[in-house]
Symmetry: D2
Subunit: 324 residues, 4 copies
């Protein structure tokens, strides 16, 4: 297949999936939340009942200069610096009374440098943002004027479900880079894991590929943007049909890389974010949670994944906490 | 009382409270969590059972350039800028294939610029950090080497209790600036609110003064560092004795300002953080939660307040989510 | 005059001045330098001959957190933080061999936070940038693709001329806020100062109003954006006709503020940058230089004002150095 | 030679050179300028007379995200982002009157990320800073309290001399990585270049190795911190004896790398900065200047290299401009 054929195929497939999976207008013209609308109070109350032992697990990577980013399109790792330190305090030069001393700090970071949510203003299809809006009007240099991540500040707490595809289908718990996870793989994983991993309306689905496990063992390498296991473009229908509230993976880019059309770039994002209105999480650390789930055989849990409400942000760092 | 007398009095009172309230060694020499140790799995499971309706509320202010900070000791407001926008995407200059476009962003911010946790490395007493460690060894220019906020990444999810002192004792729900909240005020508030607001081991206590309500109505003014209602220095014993896991207020500085000793600076911090090992939250937005509690008469709830695990940070922005 | 009349008058005056003063095409369609083209090698050699005593003066304000900015449109003051300090070095924890220790630092700052150059991509007129280009194509989120400040990296060194209007026409060396400096005022100042202050092709003109002297004495107040002395809109023709290479003032905004048309915003910028192609400097500290000039009676000197070549920047911090 | 022997040898050699080359006290106990004191007004006037043709050359690399840094000790490349763009202006959403539009920008960068000056507070020897001061008192988290780069704001303009060692002694104008430039090499270069390249008190010496030429051709590779040509440790005496005001190279680290003692780190810095009080420039782009010098046979010129006066900074980005 030559490049032109491939391009045409990608354009066509994306357009077709966009049409089939569109949620535009489903929650009204003013909607700002997309699939987070599925996360109802009833669903949330149901999720809370999953807490039994009280064990809690952070699903965040550390935010640090030694992180995975390589500067692609100015996506750097966080730079954390101190305004004051214990050394200053101990030296007695801070000018505070009665022996009090303090340390304080600042950070400079891309909002999608580590464990994150993509906001609904992060990806566009031919200039169209979520709900059919004009991308040029939604996200200006002042940020996302409509669907900024702050709109989701209080919403993302509910039932989480882990689909540990790496453990179910991989070797030693890891899928190889380039492995495209299909609907069939998801179904197989659910079948193996059992009833607790059924997926439905309002759920927050976490897909573990094992790539982060590998990066932790072998070094970051091309974790940020290189080949990776991930969702197949063909899962767009599943993402739409299941009416999940959000989905996250342990990889940089959620979908399989290299992408399945030659010369393409993140085609599943192009359908999922602007058309389905789906919240996508990336670079989540699912290993400790996976161990807990494997140990007790339960794959659903209470999950809070609160974005940092930076006004107008198109994404957000997040420290998700799962409780079983 | 002259300045020297006042200074001596403050030094003495702080030293006395520090001795009485010290938790040094309670959880071993290697402890990194302080009072978060009280937040047991049992406690957490108990907290989750408080979810009934499934209503969720974010307790975070927005993080934005128009925030309350005035640059004191380089504490500025966040500056959020775009790496790419919808305008770029619509202009078709991003170099992506098949019509996909994207927006991306970065932030520069002090970690304690808005709704936040103070980490255990934030405050020292005469060069001593939590658990008696040498502040100069704990917090260097590389950050907090021992009690960095990442150590608490997975812990802070449990039973929250709102003590709405503003509503219980203030006029129109607000305490005036300079109002020192004493143990008696806390007890009165609990008594008025009823059984659901009992406070004990492992709880996360939220104290609403109403100052943020006022700032929202009247403008920030001196919200960041000026006069404010807050905990009296005299509550150190209560903070220690109740064995709470953490506490947060809707004010910039947690304790009453001006501080109760002439010329003093945050003396309650000097006892609470290095000696009690207490996690303190500041600038939380408790208004929506307060309305929910007043409406249903229940003052306890499930609370997740996950710090952003910036490695070595002495504080963290946070988007706490309460669920009832 | 009502608002609508005023608006029409401003639009008309700006359009007329733009037409009269346009340099579009003067240096070809590909030009990136505007009036810096006037600064020829001959002119530069002439400027160097002005050095006699060898005395040098920095014309930069300090770049620091205590600077004049108030956050207007996210223009904050610089935040300078340390990566490593002498305290770390002295503590011996840096991991370096044989007793070497080091300090290192970072800065976050708007490029126009203090003493600066406006680049040619800084201001547009009805969507048109310098030389008639489409602003939307010139300056995207990736920066100025055509006239980025790096294009001027090696150019701005030549003959400087100080027009100390504050000293010539003000009281105690200061013009009051709101004072509009006209062509006549400039001519009077030149006449009083004498032959060394003649202005012509390729010169870099520095206009001292004395406002910075006042701010230094009385505090910043509204130095950043408030009322100020400055060039009258009516000087557009002079700026064009004299064929100067660049001009700078000791004020935040170069032109008089409030602007001379009701409800207007920096109308002289709208003519000077996109139409004349003029490099404008702001917030320069001209006081020490003014004292030198008054002392020896010579108002011209060698001037180097090298912008920091941040690729694609639309402005730049600068530390200009005058030598006499 | 084993590691211990090597360590002892390095310690000994550094101590010996430090004693021999010390300028402590030469300019009084309060001195903040070190060897910049040699740059007298007479010297400056002499330098200005070197301007003949009026040709000017920037010696700065571009400051950009694609720069040489690799994140060593949090030294990243600059991240430049836009506050407003031409796209926003053209979209008409900026809220400005009468058709004016604007672009504005910010930068986050280590002060030594690209073409730079090391300030006198950058390097210490066994806890001692320039002039024998206690490093722990000089450079705290608030920055350099004594020798901050702002102290040199108006000084560095004078006679520059290019020693193009790469062209004189290398192949195709480039010295290989690891090549240690000795006093003999410097003398040979001066001899070949002729009288205009004599070096003496108050001069600013620029040493071109050709490594940047290579990096520009072959890619950055390990330009930031890897093997490089540079000054031999043995030139400490020459740096001291010649009484030069400052020196700069086209390499990341000024001195040869790997360093000449096994396991050592920048031993020449340890002598040159705290003991000689020498201003060192790094990552200067000397290629265009070298071409000009080779073309006209003159190796001295007028040089202005004004640091950005960030208060308390221990280094500074710089755009040096040479004029012949």
């Amino acid at each position: 297949m030559n490049a032109e054929t491939s391009r045409v195929e990608a354009e066509h497939a994306i357009a077709e999936a966009a049409t089939e999976c569109s949620n535009w207008g489903r929650w009204g013209n003013d909607d700002r939340l997309g699939t987070l609308n599925y996360l109802s109070e009833t669903k949330r109350a149901e999720g809370a009942r999953l807490v039994r032992r009280g064990v809690s697990v952070s699903l965040a990577q550390r935010f640090e200069a030694e992180g995975p980013q390589k500067g692609w399109r100015r996506r750097t790792n966080p730079v954390h610096t101190m305004l004051e330190t214990g050394l200053d305090a101990a030296a007695g030069t801070q000018g505070f009374p009665h022996g009090i001393g303090g340390a304080d700090d600042v950070v400079f970071m891309p909002l999608q440098c580590s464990t994150q949510w993509d906001g609904l203003g992060h990806i566009f299809d031919h200039g169209r943002a979520w709900n059919g809006r004009n991308a040029a009007e939604v996200v200006t240099s002042l940020g996302d004027q409509v669907t900024g991540i702050e709109t989701a500040a209080g919403v993302i707490a509910g039932r989480g479900v882990l689909l540990d595809v790496g453990r179910a289908l991989g070797e030693s718990g890891e899928l190889p880079d380039g492995f495209a996870i299909t609907e069939r793989h998801l179904a197989d994983t659910i079948a193996r894991q059992g009833e607790s991993s059924r997926v439905g309306r309002g759920d927050i689905v976490l897909v573990r590929t094992g790539q982060l496990t590998r990066a932790r063992r072998d070094g970051w390498g091309d974790y940020a943007g290189g080949p990776a296991p991930g969702l197949s473009f063909g899962t767009a229908g599943w993402l739409h049909r299941t009416e999940i509230a959000a989905i996250a993976t342990d990889t940089w880019g959620f979908e399989v890389r290299p992408n399945e059309f030659d010369g393409a770039f993140q085609p599943l994002h192009q359908v999922a974010i602007p058309h389905i209105g789906l919240y996508i999480g990336e670079m989540w650390d699912l290993d400790a949670l996976a161990a807990e789930c494997a140990a007790d055989g339960g794959y659903d849990f209470w999950l809070t994944a609160a974005p940092l409400p930076v006004t107008g942000a198109v994404g957000s760092p997040v420290n998700p906490i799962a409780v079983k």
